[in-house]
Symmetry: C2
Subunit: 365 residues, 2 copies
């Protein structure tokens, strides 16, 4: 007789998974802190309110990669981007900024740009496709800055061609506006452009990059630009409440993971292309973009989402393999989707296994 | 022949110190991360964007200590307090807030309350003494909130009497204004009032507490209040860029150190009273307040600051004992001062040693 055998929750099932299709695997505090301690020299000093060799050297390392004069480590991208837009607004004497409707600043930050900074957004282009120079040419009001997200996360990591990117940044220059890059996934873009990060960043006046998405660190971001721009950003960092007395856990995690993974994005991209082909060949699965332009894609599934989620959960419970969690609605009835970013974790799954698991998901009644 | 024997910098000398008059000793990333890993169960899950048992349970722990319905863990006090003031401004339909001229919000945050939130400050009372009810009675304009700092850090940790505190909070209530506590050092105030934290917090509508000052954690703060107030604060946390994907290093450090040190503040206060007596008895040294009301005091020294700093540095170099770093100007010519907060570190120094070191500082030519 089995009593008190509780049905495990979705969270408990996912937490027990040992292999993952997306990302770099589960972040576990105990293991992460122990690994960070091991990666830190015993005599390395703590940063104090943004000062100290640990954080300053890492900021120089980021500036060198991006080819900018300076960089500033910040706890979040939300903070980094609002600061960048506010600085450009004050310098350009306009309070309007232009960007694609699906940008993080617009959709995921509770309109901080507006409620904290008094800025207005001129949304440019269609939410379901990349912004174009033609879209920008319809803007008939002065803007302080144009923000371009590379790649566009909510389009499955799509990227404009190098020529399209040049044409868009030229639009801003022609009007005296600044160009800011939302480079939350810039690291992921290098295989597509086949250019150095510095060359891509060179089209922009300011750049935000993240350390916890593709890089897989605990948290953290950087804002990069000219020395005077970064000096001004440090003032706004204080105002935002982002000058945390000790940022070293995030800096150490960012430093360790950046050095370890920066050269792996071509591999992640190649693996994403293969996995996209495997998935696309399964009836009822559509991948966007196909082929993927980065390590990211949107995977849309045909069928009842509850049934599909239950099938994936059964695989997680029985095989300790996490394929996806919740499915999100799409524009089409009976189609739902999940976002997939390929990292280290996918190396533990063969193409045949991925094919078999998703075939099972799609065929489960 | 000794070549390349560099003169150690002030930073290097301080970093090599083994005993400290103030605080809890040096924060070293390697040791801190290792200790945190050890204090974390291997199966404890990471928080994700403010969710998860690790952070939610700690927020409940803080709310229980303060006797509030809810609490929110935030990376900094700057963020916590601006959020509190903004919420009260919107709820009370006024954009003016009242507080003592030396409050952190006014002096250390690059006027974020103004530049991010459009708030105005009505400074109340004299910068060199505590605010009083009589000072408040001179305010002739509507205010959304009264902020009271307990204890007043820039007055050496001075505290109003319980009756004075009641009279001040009553002033706000009579006018329909909210009362917010800057409790950056609230933990340090309990010995003075001889009341529970919940009873002190009960005079206020919202309370900010810090985890890295007296508690000695890596970083972090909490905002506490009613459930609806905290729900609204979570929206502003996103806007401020404070909803870091993983806050677990700070939460774990706050949890560990709070549980370890919360009962020690009476000891720190008693030690501060003794040390103040020792210092006050040395010619050329004046302590404020005397006796200290918390574990804090301002120690003013008579004489040339460069000579005094050099004498302290010599003791740091020769004895590996850190007494103070830089001295700050005072209102009186030939008097400079340093802020002293007593924590665990002072237990490693006897009164006789402290007397001898400071006598040497004062007598060095």
């Amino acid at each position: 007789m089995v009593l008190n055998q509780a049905v495990p929750t979705r969270e408990a099932i996912m937490a027990a998974c040992e292999r993952f299709l997306g990302g770099h695997g589960m972040m576990r505090p105990h293991d992460e802190l122990r690994a960070l301690a091991a990666a830190t020299a015993p005599d390395e000093s703590a940063d104090v309110y943004g000062k100290g060799n640990l954080i300053e050297a890492f900021e120089r390392e980021i500036a060198a990669i991006l080819g900018t004069e300076a960089a500033l480590f910040l706890p979040t991208g939300t903070m980094a981007q609002q600061i960048a837009l506010r600085i450009w607004a004050e310098r350009k004497h306009h309070d309007t900024v232009a960007y694609h409707p699906m940008c993080h600043v617009e959709t995921k930050e509770e309109k901080g740009y507006q409620r904290l900074h008094g800025l207005h957004a001129r949304l440019v282009g269609d939410a379901r496709r990349l912004m174009t120079r033609e879209d920008l040419d319809t803007v008939a009001e002065p803007v302080a800055a144009l923000l371009i997200e590379l790649p566009q996360r909510d389009l499955g990591g799509m990227l404009p061609s190098w020529e399209a990117l040049q044409a868009q940044t030229a639009w801003a220059r022609e009007r005296g506006a600044a160009v800011h890059m939302d480079g939350a996934r810039l690291w992921e873009s290098a295989p597509f452009y086949g250019r150095s990060y510095a060359e891509i960043a060179g089209l922009f006046d300011s750049v935000y990059v993240s350390f916890y998405k593709g890089i897989g660190a605990m948290a953290g971001s950087a804002l990069a630009g000219s020395a005077d721009f970064i000096a001004e950003a440090r003032v706004w960092q204080v105002r935002h409440g982002g000058r945390i007395i000790h940022l070293f856990p995030y800096v150490l995690s960012a430093r360790t993971n950046l050095r370890q993974r920066l050269d792996r994005f071509s591999h992640y991209h190649a693996r994403a292309v293969t996995i996209a082909k495997v998935l696309q060949a399964i009836p009822g699965i559509v991948v966007k973009p196909e082929p993927p332009q980065t390590n990211m894609m949107h995977v849309s599934l045909h069928g009842d989402p509850e049934r599909l989620e239950a099938a994936a959960l059964a695989i997680a419970r029985e095989e300790n393999v996490a394929l996806f969690r919740a499915l999100r609605p799409t524009d089409l009835p009976n189609w739902t989707m999940f976002e997939l970013s390929i990292g280290d974790a996918a190396d533990a799954l063969t193409d045949d296994e991925i094919r078999a698991y998703f075939t099972r998901v799609m065929e489960t009644e």
